[in-house]
Symmetry: C2
Subunit: 230 residues, 2 copies
Amino acid sequence: MARQEPDIPGLPGGIEEAEPRLDRAQIAQAALDLLDEQGFDAFSMRKLAVALGIKSPSLYWHVRSKDELFDLLIDVVVGKCPLPDDDGRSWEERLVGLGLELRQVLLAHPAATRLLPGRVPFGPNGLRLADHIIGVLRQAGFDNRLSGYGYLLLLFYVVGFAGQEIAFGKGPENHARLGQITGFLRDLPADRYPHLTAVADELTARPGLTHRFELGLVGILGELDRRRRE
Amino acid sequence: MARQEPDIPGLPGGIEEAEPRLDRAQIAQAALDLLDEQGFDAFSMRKLAVALGIKSPSLYWHVRSKDELFDLLIDVVVGKCPLPDDDGRSWEERLVGLGLELRQVLLAHPAATRLLPGRVPFGPNGLRLADHIIGVLRQAGFDNRLSGYGYLLLLFYVVGFAGQEIAFGKGPENHARLGQITGFLRDLPADRYPHLTAVADELTARPGLTHRFELGLVGILGELDRRRRE
DNA sequence: AGGGAGACCCTAACACTGCTAGGGATTCCC
DNA sequence: GGGAATCCCTAGCAGTGTTAGGGTCTCCCT
């Protein structure tokens, strides 16, 4: 009993077969939809089963656990990030563009993005993304060490930034949060937190986050470039 | 019935009073200990109650919900990050140092750090930290806008980096993970992921993460500095 | 001194969770 | 025709966060 792929334990596998009635891809997609619509806290295996028209224990024939399902689901999200071709742009422009797109993809699925920290995005799509990023860097003349650095830094930065951005009120379920924070900061005692209250408006200004994101990313990549001349 | 502080809803308050038998600080500390020892998945309100010598419903007299408890707990962790005095170092050195220390504090509590993404660290200690960082920037001559940028970028970067770092195998419960990933990357088909497999060793090399962390942070702060001359 | 308010913890229970054991169909191959 | 494999089911376990409501103890006020 139970099939669930002959892969490395704990990491989603990469071989797809033809499934008859209901396959893992459909389940992952339905789970993502449910997460998008109902939010993070509302998700449960039972509700997912209802959405699929089956009973919850049947899910466990397709998927080893809720956690594995989440791995699958994250890979679906990561797979939505386009990998631009080798056009005329410089390596830096391409990676900044990729970072911006990945961020957009994550922000489009806030509830799913909350699952990402604590996980390694090494599903098939995640691997493809990793290979692409590292390829761009190696092609640009970085050695293996710095290419590995660059990939991890880019990934960590984007995931971290998007995650915190969502915490600050991005997404439907957290949208009220932003107003709360704005009010909270406004009511803070200025004598106790003089600097924070002075710049409070800048923290909650919604537009401009993209600009901030890009600033940091450019800084990281620029520093990476600087390090190879040493 | 129920007291739980007259604060802004959803965000931990900042006024401490004298509590008789068991106060929120003790509960938060015990929760942190439990998380450190047993790991993220093993935590529950009932186990926390046992550790405190009471029954679980009694916790709800002190704390509104598990979520609020987590906010408290995170502020305890954040509070462990020292804020260096205004010594002779430049603003950049001081902020890099602060980032390194904050990262260390987070890595020392991996299970608790997994709670941080999706949350805004605006407990009393988090506010103190924010005010300090922004203060350093403003004192260095940055305007309000860039100071706000800098604080968010620093915070997002550190939290994101530490979170992913933990996912990659830092911490007791995830330590086996690193070996898994190493083996997983080694067994990957080189024709499908040529670049990734070429640099696989660099990704799982444990030492050097501090170096990578610092590289990115220096890059971000340097870019921030560059932007003010425009 | 007596009464009341509040602090602090309890028992009982609700609605829900992830997940397993084990059993029926249906399909396909030998 | 027999057997294996696929795919879903019912029943149920052990555990979760949380609420309702009731006790007891302490302290303050009159």
